[in-house]
């Protein structure tokens, strides 16, 4: 049977988000540099984290605000706070 898989990109396109100009996710790459697991790269349901030229970068505007990365990042490379009031996701069907 042909498998129909919706890409993550397509799904993120459906999420209603008010984009802030400043990121609510701060990355301390001096910590990430030493992190072997880099769990954030596969854990994030929105694929927010990417490793570019050896540095972790966060496409914070895609964040679904679940906070899993904050919980999973034991060394503190990710400093995650809630987006400012008026910004971030607005779910209708939660």
């Amino acid at each position: 049977m042909a498998k129909s898989r919706l890409s993550l990109e397509d799904k993120l396109f459906l999420v209603k988000t008010a984009k802030d100009t400043v990121s609510h996710i701060k990355i301390d790459n001096s910590i990430c540099k030493k992190c072997r697991d880099k769990l954030c790269l596969r854990l994030c349901p929105a694929g927010t984290y990417e490793e570019i030229n050896g540095k972790i970068e966060a496409a914070y505007e895609n964040c679904l605000e679940c906070g899993s990365c904050r919980v999973a990042c034991r060394d503190g490379g990710i400093r995650w706070s809630n987006p400012r009031g008026g910004f971030g996701v607005s779910f209708s069907n939660g």
Binding site: R5, D10, N82, R84, F91
Partner: protein, 437 residues
């Protein structure tokens, strides 16, 4: 906002526990403001899909007629997926299908929380949206207000109720718990898929406002503690997977949460149910798995913690969250009413809150399932090997052939003996009965 803005109580978060707390306080004539970071109550919230409404119905006897629920849960299915197979227990008792519908309703938080918030406002509390609390304000160690981070942007109160939800940043900042790690949370991802009302009713065998709640164990979340689910809304379905974060991080097979959801949707047992649907929304949220043994401190001078932020979620098969959250909000409000009377918001007075929780189903149920997750974590055979074996046995038993049934029975017996250590399985089953049920 100016420093002078003051209310008797500030509730942080307009979810079920925060709103239940504010409603109860407002009814008692205590000046209350609910502060919500979302654009509207429910905008940042997600749950599986079943609203357990027994507490809500006590607050609003007209819940059944007034509240924006999607469908009542008339039909439940518990299935085990294994490879491409499904084995299921399906139940549609009359009891589920007449008022009060076993107090179980499929709902969307965006709708339900908004409705609830309106009731809270009608009762006299104020609700401020689009305001994100970044920290509490202290005076001599007592919480006296909240701030969004700006110097002149704060609110003062006699007491603050923290109903911030599963991502319990403020609770950690206040030192009521250590930074939560992956063993304390599960993650759920979910899609809302539009199918149309008549397709849903035909496909799931439903009539009128009747709804279906299907839960899938086994390989729905391969090798992980968790499950997949489908809940029917009016004209759409909620399809998702939830699993333990620590399990997921240990597994390291490179699959993302979205991959796991897509695999689930493409399982032969699931794909006919989602076929032809249009995905409307994609969401993610954490679920507390603190359990009885790892609850945070629930109060300090001028502060109470309720709902998911306090880890008050039944982590067993019951998956109850909303009603525990609401009960905790109401207990917080009752405690605050007593504190208000005495004008004493010290931790000594507020400790009454913990007593109320302990004497209620909230903590009793958490205690009852205190070993649930750790037992399954240490006995993975129960979620991996036994379901697969059970499936094989059923397949062999019903396989049509000219082989005499006596030979089939013997082969099945041999297969079971070869694959499991009977003493260990008996021990696992006894443990399962004691720890899981």
């Amino acid at each position: 906002m100016r420093q002078t803005d003051k209310s008797e109580v500030i509730v942080v978060g307009a979810g079920p526990s925060g709103l239940a707390c504010a409603y109860t306080l407002a009814k008692k004539g205590i000046e209350t403001i609910v502060i919500e970071r979302g654009e509207y109550p429910g905008a940042k919230n997600m749950f599986g899909g079943i609203f357990f409404s027994s507490i809500m119905e006590k607050l609003f006897p007209s819940f059944l007629d007034d509240a924006p629920w999607e469908r009542f849960v008339g039909k439940r299915k518990f299935a085990i997926l294994s490879g491409d197979s499904e084995m299921a227990f399906d139940t549609k008792p009359e009891f589920f299908n007449k008022p009060p519908y076993n107090h179980s309703f499929i709902a969307k938080r965006g709708e339900m929380d908004k409705w609830f918030a309106k009731k809270v406002e009608e009762a006299g509390a104020s609700i401020l949206t689009d305001y994100c609390v970044q920290d509490f304000l202290y005076e001599n160690g007592k919480v006296v207000g909240i701030t969004s981070g700006g110097d002149d942007d704060s609110f003062m109160a006699d007491c603050v109720v923290c109903a911030e939800g599963a991502n319990s940043i403020l609770t950690e900042k206040a030192g009521l718990r250590e930074k939560i790690g992956p063993e304390r949370r599960s993650i759920a991802v979910k899609e809302n898929i539009r199918l149309g009302q008549s397709v849903i009713e035909d496909r799931f065998g439903l009539t009128g406002r009747q709804g279906a709640a299907y839960e899938y164990f086994g390989s729905s979340v391969p090798g992980l503690l968790g499950n997949g689910f489908i809940y029917t809304n009016r004209d759409s379905i909620s399809v998702g997977v939830g699993f333990s974060l620590s399990d997921y991080l240990e597994k390291k097979d490179g699959k993302t949460p979205n991959d796991i959801l897509e695999d689930f949707k493409n399982h032969p047992a699931i794909s006919p149910l989602v076929r032809g649907g249009e995905t409307v929304e994609y969401m993610a949220h954490m679920i507390p798995s603190d359990g009885f043994k790892h609850l945070p401190e629930l109060y300090r001078d001028g502060l109470l913690i309720t709902g998911d932020a306090a880890g008050l979620l039944n982590t067993s098969f019951f998956h109850e969250g909303v009603n525990l959250a609401m009960a905790s909000g109401i207990f917080a409000a009752e405690t605050l009413a007593e504190a208000h009377e005495k004008s004493d918001f010290t931790s000594e007075t507020l400790s009454e809150y913990e007593k109320k929780l302990k004497n209620s189903f909230v903590i009793k149920d958490l205690e009852n399932c205190k070993n649930f997750l750790s037992f399954l974590h240490d006995h993975k055979a129960i979620i991996n090997d036994y379901p697969a074996l059970m499936n094989d046995v059923v397949v062999d038993y019903f396989r049509v052939s000219e082989k005499p049934k006596s030979v089939v029975k013997k082969e099945i017996f041999n297969r079971v003996m070869k694959n499991v250590n009977i003493t260990q399985m008996a021990g696992d089953m006894w443990g399962a009965w004691r720890n899981l049920v």
